[in-house]
């Protein structure tokens, strides 16, 4: 499978540069999370990848060549503002969208039936979309993006509006698709979810990519921290070399490593002084990395 790549993608609305020279890579076989605050440019970037908006500058590549309309026809796309015909019946509508994606009428019909069952909507096939609950409409929308065996998935906030059980089901499906070798890019505001699901991450702020890579790489770029908890007071750590003391409170201290290996000296010193209750590497949550890179 090919990867999706953008180079110098730029788009201006009036005086506002919504997307400013975005270079990103969505690799096949994994989930790529797309995070950033409101107005960071996620939706505009996704729309340009899908060809709905034309970039002012830059290009979108599919593998090593410019992405074409024929490539995009086979993608699965879920726009930020959901779109379905409210008055058309669920199965008819999905079959129509399947055919627009290049499926034969028969293939589209059987894919619709299969996916409606998969999402426990088999008995709602003959109902109008507007008669479904919002959660079920969201499922129909997801089916519309998945049913034609897409070669890539571009999903704008696919988890918004889903209850926890549906979030888990959706996460399983996305992981499944990614595992089959399809590049999957999805945006989300829920950082804990992105952290749990994603193999790699793209952080956007004010139209620019401020961080990109696997979650481990992003963490590696940040400071390495250790937490020390001892029976006695740990005020003595302030005199240790090669570390920066972030915080001390009675028997607890948060240390930031300056010289690699200095943490071993601190541990030995702590053991010499009495019982050590805890000494552990602190893995910063994604939200913290996010705050740092977007600050």
């Amino acid at each position: 499978m090919a990867q999706i790549e953008t180079r110098g993608l730029t788009r201006t609305f009036g005086d506002v540069r919504a997307v400013d020279g975005v270079d990103l890579v969505v690799r096949p076989g994994g989930l790529t999370g797309f995070v950033g605050g409101n107005g960071a440019g996620k939706t505009t970037t996704m729309r340009m990848i899908m060809g709905v908006l034309r970039p002012d500058a830059g290009q979108v590549l599919w593998g090593d060549r410019p992405m074409t309309a024929a490539d995009r026809q086979r993608f699965g796309y879920m726009p930020e503002e959901r779109g379905l015909y409210p008055k058309q019946k669920v199965a008819e509508q999905l079959a129509y969208l399947g055919q627009l994606s290049g499926m034969s009428s028969a293939a589209a019909k059987s894919a619709v039936a299969e996916h409606l069952e998969l999402f426990s909507l088999g008995d709602r096939a003959g109902e109008r979309v507007e008669a479904l609950s919002l959660g079920n409409q969201q499922r129909v929308q997801i089916i519309a993006a998945l049913m034609h065996g897409p070669t890539a998935l571009i999903l704008d906030e696919p988890f918004s509006g889903l209850d926890p059980a549906a979030v888990d089901a959706m996460a399983d499906i996305l992981r499944d698709r990614a595992a089959s070798g399809v590049p999957v890019l999805f945006s989300s505001h829920q950082l804990d979810l992105v952290e749990r699901l994603c193999d790699s991450l793209i952080v956007l702020a004010r139209g620019r990519v401020v961080a990109q890579g696997t979650v481990e790489t992003l963490r590696a770029g940040g400071p390495t921290r250790y937490r020390l908890v001892t029976a006695g007071d740990v005020g003595w750590v302030r005199d240790q070399r090669g570390i920066h003391v972030h915080d001390v409170d009675g028997g607890r201290a948060l240390l930031e490593l300056i010289d690699p290996g200095a943490e071993q000296a601190v541990l030995r010193a702590a053991v010499d002084r009495g019982p050590v209750l805890e000494f552990a590497r602190v893995v910063p949550p994604l939200s913290e990395i996010y705050r740092e890179v977007t600050a």
Partner: protein, 400 residues
């Protein structure tokens, strides 16, 4: 440039996406209840009108004419000749004993009229109003009978007396009755064109804005070129409009066969052919305008105002087709989209030379082509702008 083949085998190329779009437009409309009810209602109106015409034409009225013995012969002649003079009138002769009894019968509404001879002339007496059909039939019979009597007395014949006295009327072009029929037909065509362009145009504009408002257009735009979406929607609506018009026209024409107008049908069939061709092109042109009106709006509520210019144009064409004649009609029969209805009307009325509809059709085709191109640009650029209403100028210069 790589030639990788990563596409899944289940997918095939969409050969003609606009056909898929057109099919959806038609299929969803054919199961739409309000569309079906509206069509059936209009059909019922047409059938009702035709049946009414046929009944009115077929209806015969029988009059009871009361007479005393002195007028018996004349009354019998009236009764005998009435069906040949007016096939809607039958006369039954009711004998009465004397004038008083005859007058009483009319007064009591037992008879429709009393025919009697008084002071050497004939008198038809009714209760409060002499039925005009009966009066005309009786007057003819009485005049012929008395003329024959008088001629016999003078030793001559009615034929000799009246030779050369009649005035025949004729028109140089066509036939007066036929011209009246053609005018009626022209009016009916103008109404059909106006209704079809308005109803199906509104439908088209609303379905464009429905896609915009529900944002499904963003998904569709990633699947097929927007040009195909526009073409499919217009094709689908044209099929529906022409289908509906053909249905109405067919029912109307079949119905006409049962009315006295049936003899005029062959003379208008050529003009109806022209109407169909002009209707197709005119409808295409106007559909593009409606599609743009829909795309300029962001919500269904906006369509009313974005489509006002199109509605005004249609109203102007409609009244122009009804009221204009002479040079104004001739000039406008070349100006699209008014030519779509004015030229077939002129063909119908027989005031167009054979080459005139061809020229007008050529101009209409060029105009329709130009409007399709302009509309495609406006439609494409306004389709993904969902922040309120757009002006024509904004849509034209909007970035894609």
């Amino acid at each position: 440039m790589s030639t990788q083949t990563t596409q899944p085998s289940s997918a095939t190329e969409v050969g003609q996406p606009w056909l898929l779009v057109a099919r959806r437009e038609v299929a969803t409309k054919l199961v739409d209840r309000s569309f079906l009810v509206g069509t059936l209602l209009t059909l019922a109106l047409i059938i009702g009108f035709v049946v009414l015409q046929a009944v009115l034409a077929e209806r015969t009225r029988t009059y009871d004419v009361v007479v005393t013995s002195s007028a018996q012969t004349m009354a019998d002649a009236v009764a005998r000749q009435a069906p040949t003079l007016d096939d809607g009138i039958r006369v039954t002769v009711v004998p009465a004993a004397d004038d008083a009894a005859a007058e009483a019968a009319v007064r009591a509404d037992d008879a429709d009229a009393w025919l009697t001879e008084r002071d050497g002339s004939w008198l038809l007496v009714a209760h409060d109003e002499v039925p005009s059909g009966l009066e005309a039939v009786t007057a003819t019979v009485v005049r012929d009978a008395v003329l024959t009597q008088n001629a016999d007395r003078a030793g001559t014949s009615v034929a000799a007396l009246t030779a050369g006295t009649t005035l025949e009327s004729d028109v140089l072009v066509g036939d007066a009755d036929q011209r009246g029929f053609a005018q009626g037909m022209a009016f009916a065509l103008a109404v059909l064109f106006y209704m079809a362009s308005l109803i199906f145009g509104m439908t088209l504009a609303n379905s464009v804005v429905e896609e915009k408002q529900s944002r499904i257009v963003e998904i569709i735009a990633t699947k097929i070129p927007v040009r195909h979406l526009l073409a499919g929607k217009i094709a689908g609506n044209t099929v529906l409009a022409v289908g509906q018009m053909a249905l109405y026209a067919a029912i109307g024409l079949v119905g006409l066969r049962f009315t006295p107008y049936s003899s005029f049908l062959p003379s208008v069939s050529g003009a109806l052919g022209w109407f169909l061709v002009f209707f197709l092109l005119g409808f295409l042109l106007i559909s593009c305008l409606w599609a743009v009106a829909g795309a300029l709006a962001s919500r269904t509520e906006d369509v009313q105002s974005t489509s006002t210019p199109v509605t005004m144009l249609l109203v102007a064409i409609f009244f122009g087709s009804l009221l204009l004649d002479g040079p104004a009609q001739t000039v406008l029969s070349y100006v699209p989209p008014a030519s779509a209805i004015l030229m077939p009307q002129r063909v119908l009325e027989g005031s167009a030379q054979w080459w005139e509809p061809l020229v007008a059709l050529g101009i209409l085709a060029v105009a329709a082509g130009a409007v399709v191109l302009l509309a495609e640009r406006l439609y494409r650029r306004s389709l993904l702008q969902t922040q309120g209403r757009l002006s024509m100028r904004q849509a034209w210069s909007a970035p894609e």
